[in-house]
């Protein structure tokens, strides 16, 4: 069972109060992009054993989307942060580096 801290309403929300939103920090491949880039955007997803970044929505609570960084092996949550960013905040990355040295995920490490 995951418990994620909602950065908007400050509630430690149980997983059953949240809706999963899939992989975080996807960048849309817009009109005019080559087929392979569009395919990557549409279908290719990270499926790591370890550090992972996801989107979640506090569906039964304040209704806001936010990001979460967690470990898929131990379910350890490294932190949550607001949705209005295109990459994980430095503070979260530093915390992950402290616990999982040498981690990488997509373009981030």
């Amino acid at each position: 069972m995951l418990i994620l801290h909602c950065p908007y309403c400050g509630v430690d929300a149980d997983e059953t109060e949240l809706s999963p939103g899939g992989e975080a920090h996807l960048k849309r491949a817009g009109p005019g992009t080559p087929d392979d880039a569009f395919e990557r955007y549409l279908f290719h997803r990270e499926n790591p054993k370890g550090v992972h970044f996801e989107r979640w929505r506090h569906a039964s609570g304040c209704g806001k989307w936010f990001h979460a960084a967690r470990c898929t092996v131990t379910m350890e949550v490294f932190g949550t942060y607001p949705a209005q960013v295109t990459e994980p905040p430095q503070e979260i990355c530093d915390r992950i580096t402290g616990k999982r040295p040498g981690w990488s995920w997509g373009a981030f490490s």
Partner: protein
């Protein structure tokens, strides 16, 4: 004018605790920048109570303000004053970015009262219902069994619960099931 009809017309159950459908209640959803003085003034003007902080509810009598999300506040007032309340907010906030709607008929409200009120709600929600985790003055949007709901405490043994009107019967049923005599857990 037609008479307001609440979802369950005042249904009452007495078991471990008393579960009562509380009848028509005025509710106004006000969305906007909650940091803005204008929005705060509009909300407090209708409710007549201080503006609540994050995750808090300020209620006095049948009026009150409940913090719903960083950009949404719930204004409680007597049922027949909700329309005038929206008009007052519209007048004060004209020209700014906001939304005010009378949602009185979209919701149902329950009062759960008794010594085991905490326990009855704890059976239905994932929220921390311990006295340290939830106390009068706090406001929590969460779920009750399978539907979204919100609640706050009027005093140590009395909760007010709101949910969508469409699931009022469901919420009444799960509350009464959780309050079945003989089902006490005695955890709190």
């Amino acid at each position: 004018m037609s008479e307001p009809v609440s979802a369950l017309q005042g249904a009452i159950f007495e078991g471990l605790v008393k579960v009562e459908e509380a009848g028509p209640c005025g509710m106004i959803t006000l969305r906007g920048d909650l940091a803005s003085t204008q929005v705060k003034t509009a909300a407090t003007g209708v409710a007549g109570v201080d503006f609540p902080g994050q995750g808090e509810a300020n209620c006095a009598g049948d009026k009150g303000l409940c913090w719903m999300s960083p950009d949404e506040i719930l204004v409680l007032c007597p049922y027949d004053q909700a329309g005038a309340g929206v008009a007052a907010i519209d007048k004060l906030l004209a020209g700014t970015h906001y939304l005010a709607t009378n949602v009185s008929d979209a919701r149902a409200r329950f009062v759960v009262s008794g010594l085991d009120a905490r326990e009855v709600l704890a059976k239905l929600t994932p929220a921390d219902m311990s006295p340290a985790g939830f106390a009068p003055g706090r406001f929590r949007r969460t779920r009750l069994a399978q539907v979204p709901a919100a609640f706050w405490m009027r005093d140590e043994h009395m909760f007010e619960v709101i949910c969508f009107r469409s699931v009022a019967q469901y919420v009444f049923d799960i509350l009464t099931a959780a309050a079945t005599p003989g089902s006490e857990v005695g955890f709190f």
